[in-house]
Symmetry: C2
Subunit: 328 residues, 2 copies
Amino acid sequence: MSAATPSEQLGQVLEVGGPELSRLLARAERRLVELSEGHGRPLAEHAGGMLDAGGKRMRPVLVFLCGGEADGRLVAAAVAVELLHMATLVHDDVLDRATLRRGRPTVFAEGGREAATATGDLLFSRAFAELAATGSPGAVRALSEASSSLARGELMQRADAWKEDVSPERYLERCRLKTASLFEAACRLGALFGEAPGSEQSLARFGACVGLAFQLLDDVLDVSGPSSRTGKPRGTDLLDGTVTLPLILARRRDPELRRLDLHSVVTEPAQAAAVCDRIVLTGALSEAREQALRHVAEAKAAISGLELSEGRRKALGLVADGVVERYA
Amino acid sequence: MSAATPSEQLGQVLEVGGPELSRLLARAERRLVELSEGHGRPLAEHAGGMLDAGGKRMRPVLVFLCGGEADGRLVAAAVAVELLHMATLVHDDVLDRATLRRGRPTVFAEGGREAATATGDLLFSRAFAELAATGSPGAVRALSEASSSLARGELMQRADAWKEDVSPERYLERCRLKTASLFEAACRLGALFGEAPGSEQSLARFGACVGLAFQLLDDVLDVSGPSSRTGKPRGTDLLDGTVTLPLILARRRDPELRRLDLHSVVTEPAQAAAVCDRIVLTGALSEAREQALRHVAEAKAAISGLELSEGRRKALGLVADGVVERYA
């Protein structure tokens, strides 16, 4: 495995994706800046930082790679998907009382919870406005289904907090809702506006599998760190009560972990780090990482029958591989 | 002026609107219940109470009255508008830490802020999903514009909190964004799917004026009470730092009010009630109520040139009159 950082990975994808992909991404960036400047002072004030703070833009990249041609509607779809993603981040930061995101102060930190809640709502609204402008009800439906799933995933995570009997199946269902659904929508929108509408099912499946692998590896990284790369202390999921696959698998292997009442015992970062070490010792991380790799393989299989240019297939493969190769 | 309660007013509108209006409203209610039951346990758990707790259903009524015929898309539009309205209420309750709404525990009270934030997001998403199913990009655009405006209105209210130099014009702009925009969208959607699409501009204008009058009177009621009718203590706006027209006008008339630093002096309900009494003495409430009445007259004028059945015109007039006759 390579040890590429996210931005190096994006660089590789852009290289393979060719100048057209770079041009489309640049158009999406410009539109995001335009939105932050042109749609009322509040968005510029509060979300401006969020919009131009960058991020990996994985979902827009998927829209463009699945679309495969330069259609203005693809730019709208990419922007809509990124706006929806940002909306959920802004709301998450309110709930987590997070003060930093992508190395910059969060909307919550700068404006307080009222401004941040409203800014999230505004980003939601702009996402739908952007997509509605394409004139495609199917596209709006795809985005609203994803948006519903994201919210249901959040509710599920909340309902399952601290629970000891979360099954791997239920964990995966939560990942599907809260993460994979938007990756799936990105690919579906690309297919819908792209050059091969018939490929919608296969590309949507590709996106869902990549999203699942992405979330699985995120949960592995929360246990493994290093925090210097992830940008947050190890074990934040444990402190939140979020039961992830590494913990579920580790509990099966280690009776002491099984007996541990996380809610009362793990209340400080140092304790969380100690539990992380214990999880690592069980070998649960390798098992979770293998599951993620299987989802990556499934993603590639989903598009193996599609007629794609070699460049696009290779770029999609790089994106899929990239999600499990972070900080490896 | 009559002293009709909101439900009596709805009764009058239904009487004039005829059996078709009642049937359409019943269909919208059924759909709201269906959504609360059929779209994942979380929505049923958290928003079920919200969905069947009733409320005046003013916005759906406007959709149907502006539509004027029994089209399934009108039901979808009415449901979408009500879902969006509910989404904002759920988020408002999180921000206000409100425990009661329509006489029942809020989602925030029952599920906490995380569940309530996600439930609000879910209601937002379902609103757009519902409308996308009609296949009309114009309708989705109208809803997302309204949704953007609502959020911008919230941000504006937050930015203006406690400020002493909020002008009446800026106050009205905030009312337009945070309230009138959704009334306008309700009427626009009705026109869009209704029997006279050419009437869209006039009906949208009608909705905007009614919404403005509605918000103005809400702000008057916050000062006048009685709290036994409004269901909240007098002067909650003062305690929140929300600068409304009654306060703006009263400050012009009463130098002592002008000098009063609300932020530091008014921190308890009893103090707020005392300031309310002082505002009443200036006569500012009558002036604000007159402004609201002018917006009602403007609303009626906006549709005076439209060809409408007598029943529909009368019912629309009742809705418009109703917003300023609450608790009169």
